[in-house]
């Protein structure tokens, strides 16, 4: 039997709002026109692409203390990969994915480092890309540029940032950046940060088969231009300069490797409004792509 009824057009509009779109990271419900997740501030474009285009990107975490160089690393990594095709093909997905690259490279071209990433999650840049390693199928990846201070706060006070915990729970691997210049000067804070991070991750998901003990982690000593020994032998450098992290890695992580990377050839300081600011004197990236290549290779296994 068929019944006929008159329904106002507003109902069709409201119907869209009635259907919740789950955030790709935290899975909380959002309206169809939300730009950012109302809970974790992850871009909803990821969820729309997953729904409409049947694309399910893997999550890669890029972590490090404040000032370790995450924004610079991600920006120049994206730029290097998008400018060359000989090692790995790379395409940014969505305009928001180019913003990080554009911002970082504009700063470096002016002989400045990118401004520190603010702690507000709605201002974080996300990189969603499609990569095709040599002799492998293409892969979709997401790499957010978390603020270092936010990561430190989340480690010390879990759930301080709603996006970090679910993201790390679902991440397929991580790149952990450690400030090589700090280590070279004898500062042990990088070692402590990395040890706390390892503890946090293994508590988050300690499953020996699918948890962090089995996931690949690339440790990258950034600003390695400050130390030739670090550039020549990052594994040996880790053993000597970050002994705490080294031991944790041996005991807890099955798939990890140490790398050294640098983006600048030399640096100096400028005084801006009475504050001493480091400025790069020339840009000559080294060891930037290698950790990413290794991680993509490991994730694809």
């Amino acid at each position: 039997m068929t019944r006929w009824a008159t329904v106002s057009m507003d109902s069709y509009r409201l119907a869209k709002y009635a259907v919740q779109v789950p955030c790709y990271v935290c899975e909380s419900g959002n309206t169809f026109d939300a730009e950012l997740c109302r809970d974790c501030y992850a871009p909803m474009a990821l969820a729309y692409q997953a729904t409409a285009q049947k694309v399910h990107p893997q999550m890669i975490a890029v972590l490090g203390a404040a000032g370790a160089g995450k924004t610079t690393y991600l920006g120049i990594l994206a730029d290097m990969l998008s400018r060359r095709e000989d090692r790995m093909q790379f395409w940014a997905r969505g305009a928001f994915s180019v913003t990080l690259q554009q911002t970082a490279m504009a700063s470096l071209a002016r002989c400045e480092f990118p401004a520190p990433t603010p702690c507000r999650p709605d201002q974080w840049n996300w990189l969603h890309c499609q990569v095709r390693p040599t002799r492998r199928r293409e892969t979709e990846l997401i790499m957010p540029d978390f603020a270092g201070a936010a990561v430190e706060q989340e480690i010390d006070h879990p759930n301080a940032y709603p996006v970090i915990r679910p993201y790390l729970t679902r991440s397929a691997g991580a790149i952990v950046l450690l400030d090589g210049a700090d280590l070279e000067s004898g500062d042990q804070s990088q070692d402590f940060f990395a040890m706390k991070l390892m503890s946090y991750l293994c508590e988050l998901d300690g499953n020996p088969k699918k948890g962090w003990p089995a996931r690949p982690v690339a440790f990258v000593f950034t600003k390695a231009d400050a130390s030739s020994t670090c550039l020549d032998d990052p594994t040996g450098y880790a053993q000597k300069r970050t002994p705490g992290l080294w031991r944790q890695c041996q005991q807890r992580l099955r798939r990890h490797q140490f790398f050294a990377a640098s983006v600048v050839g030399a640096s100096a300081y400028e005084i801006h409004l009475g504050i001493r600011v480091s400025v790069p004197l020339r840009i000559e990236p080294h060891g930037v792509v290698e950790p990413f290549e290794w991680l993509v290779e490991q994730v694809a296994r």
């Binding site: 120049i76 470096l108 050839g265 030399a266 300081y269 004197l281 840009i283």
Partner: protein, 389 residues
């Protein structure tokens, strides 16, 4: 060793000593460097005299001849073309020295050159002068056509250059012992057992500090070019009355062409031999001013900005120019862009080339006197080359 022989060699290098005094007057603030050159020559004298004493039976003229031949083989022709020395060369030796000068060095004419601040290219191209810009007059000079190669530097190492203290600035004497290669022998950082990497004879030498570059330059009778001289050779300024000199952004023109220089994104993935990328040669015929390796210059890094307190550096820094195989941005490898590094830094991508002022070279007679032992008259009259353009 005969008395005549000692007298000849003594005269040869005594002349160099007085040359040093004269050059000190020409270079002004570089007196100490020139004094080191004179001492280096003295060291070379005693070394040669010692070597000669072992060959008692060799006639004196042959000793001088052999020494000059050795210096020619080592590429030290610039020493032989000094005013006080040139008279001791035979016609053949002189011709070979002049040919070597012509083949290995390029004449850069005198004139004004615009030298910008260290960030001038990063701020983008400008039409107006800024407070950081300086118009600097440059005397005519000869600049190496190619960066110094591993093979050339090997001769310096083999000749005991690291032990000849007179070649080195006194301030670095305690530090010379740390200029070692992978095996701990004296030499560039990437070498081993004092020997250059196999197959890289014609690659530019890298992994050397500013002090090592300066010592080598003294050993061959040259010096490091100043910033202004380096820019002049690459940018080849053309003066126009009442306006800033018109200068090239790159030696080959104003537009980046990665076929002309070995930079990040060029076909090569690392350092290449010095004779490659001929398309990027400068107007004067100088190779690889841009790309392949950065080049130490004699000048300090950003002296005006540092003096004004706008830029702070940890310790002294020397200027490097030209970009390297891994330089990422096009505007950081222009003739005008300046970067810097510690004079003690021994980086994988910093090399150097040498220069010598045209006024430091002697004149050469058009009609070389061949009537008396084929010797050129001391203090010959004609010029090696016309240097004013």
């Amino acid at each position: 060793m005969s008395v005549a022989s000692r007298s000849t060699i003594g005269g040869l290098f005594g002349g160099l000593g007085s040359l040093a005094t004269k050059a000190g007057g020409l270079f002004g603030g570089r007196r100490r460097a020139v004094a080191s050159l004179a001492a280096a020559v003295d060291a070379q004298t005693s070394h040669a005299a010692h070597a000669s004493s072992a060959r008692e039976s060799t006639p004196g003229v042959s000793d001088t001849h052999a020494l000059i031949e050795q210096m020619l083989a080592q590429g030290r022709f610039a020493l032989l073309l000094r005013e006080q020395i040139i008279g001791h060369l035979t016609r053949d030796q002189l011709e070979r020295a002049v040919v070597a000068l012509d083949e290995q060095m390029s004449l850069v004419p005198d004139g004004d050159v615009l030298v910008g601040g260290w960030r001038s290219e990063a701020d983008g191209p400008r039409d107006q002068l800024t407070p950081a810009d300086r118009i600097v007059p440059v005397e005519a000079l000869y600049l190496d056509r190619y960066p110094v190669t591993n093979r050339q530097y090997q001769q310096f190492v083999a000749a005991g250059g690291y032990e000849q203290m007179a070649l080195w600035d006194a301030e670095i004497w305690p530090g010379i012992l740390q200029f070692v290669d992978r095996s701990g022998a004296a030499g560039p950082r990437s070498w081993s057992d004092g020997t250059l990497p196999r197959g890289q004879e014609e690659h530019p030498v890298v992994g050397i500090s500013w002090y090592e570059a300066a010592a080598y330059a003294r050993w061959v009778g040259k010096r490091l070019p100043t910033d202004a001289e380096w820019i002049k050779a690459g940018a080849w300024p053309v003066a126009s009355a009442g306006a800033r000199p018109r200068q090239r952004r790159y030696p080959w023109g104003d537009t980046m062409d990665r076929a002309c220089a070995n930079l990040w994104g060029s076909r090569a993935a690392g350092i290449v031999p010095v004779g490659e990328y001929a398309a990027g040669v400068s107007v004067g015929g100088v190779y690889q001013l841009i790309g392949n390796v950065w080049e130490w210059t004699y000048s300090d890094f950003a002296p005006w900005e540092v003096a004004a307190g706008r830029l702070q550096v940890e310790g002294p820094m020397k200027s490097v120019r030209g970009g390297a195989f891994d330089t990422y941005f096009d505007h950081q490898c222009t003739c005008q862009f300046q970067s810097g590094d510690s004079p003690l830094a021994r980086k994988h991508n910093i090399g150097f080339r040498c220069a010598i002022g045209a006024c430091d070279l002697a004149s050469v007679a058009d009609n070389i006197n061949s009537g008396d032992g084929n010797r050129v008259p001391a203090g010959g009259e004609a010029c090696v080359a016309e240097v004013s353009v």
